[in-house]
Subunit: 140 residues, 2 copies
DNA sequence: GTATCTGCAAATCCTTTGCAAGTCA
DNA sequence: TGACTTGCAAAGGATTTGCAGATAC
């Protein structure tokens, strides 16, 4: 769990406190192999520590995001999802039918990123791009 | 205003009623040259007709969307935006810094769409794709 | 010791829903 | 007339905030 350790170091280095609540939030984020929502983090932590409150999840996520330690992704559906910033870049295909999220290899977008930078002077967030549409199962 | 007329025809053809409220919602959508939110539609219509209610906006948009007459786009920020389906396809560069939305020519995405369909069996919503990032002004 | 954090409750924002009254066709 | 629509009010889900008590350092 060296990634969690990294984030912990960054927190303490910057003068933030290491509370059990923050450690449990971090553990939940790291453990999840996909993007995780505030609600899901809350569910995991409250199972261990019943007094835990969801506002602490939001406050912790806001802090981690401000420090650049997690990435926020709005994949639609009125729910933002979070992901450790150091876990590598990838993109998403979001099925508007069933809600499934498919990860997309980064290289697929190389050409597009070039065009956006060159012709539009737009610097895309290379960590998370989202494409909405319909997945194979729902296209049948 | 022939586009509005088109939509009106589609509504009546399908047995839906033509109410003043619906016409005012349609006018607001057509008048807007960019994507418009429910809140903005409401503000425009209520200025003319004070009894107008925002739930009517949502119900009308849901109907128009169901009939394929408007497109819903979730550009993040917890607010869905609407656009007449017949006003042509285009895509968006959304600046996460200042919120500006830049329209993007459809052809830029031809190659990408091909790959998504072929390699991922994913049928992207070719009407609205959103890219998040940073615009020229905010990159300075 | 004390500034930072947390839990709790209430508030906010956007959207949806139930229902009775109103209205288009 | 009668089914479709609306206005109103209340509910809903996700997120934010104020505040007083708790705690990491």
């Amino acid at each position: 769990m060296e990634k969690t350790g990294d984030i912990i170091n960054r927190l303490t280095e910057q003068g933030y406190r290491l509370t059990p609540q923050r450690m449990m939030v971090l553990a939940a984020i790291e453990k999840s192999d996909h993007h995780i929502s505030a609600e899901e983090i809350y569910a995991q932590v409250v199972a261990k520590y019943p007094y835990f409150n969801i506002s602490t999840v939001y406050r912790t996520l806001e802090l981690l995001h401000r420090l650049g330690l997690v990435t926020e992704t709005d994949l639609g559906g009125g729910r933002v999802r979070y992901h450790p910033a150091d876990k590598g870049h990838h993109h998403h295909l979001v099925c508007q039918e069933c809600g499934k999220v498919i990860d997309l290899d980064e290289s697929v977008l190389d050409h597009l990123k070039l065009v956006l930078r060159k012709d539009y002077k737009f610097d895309p967030d290379t960590r998370h791009l989202a494409f909405f549409g319909r997945c194979a199962d729902c296209s049948k």
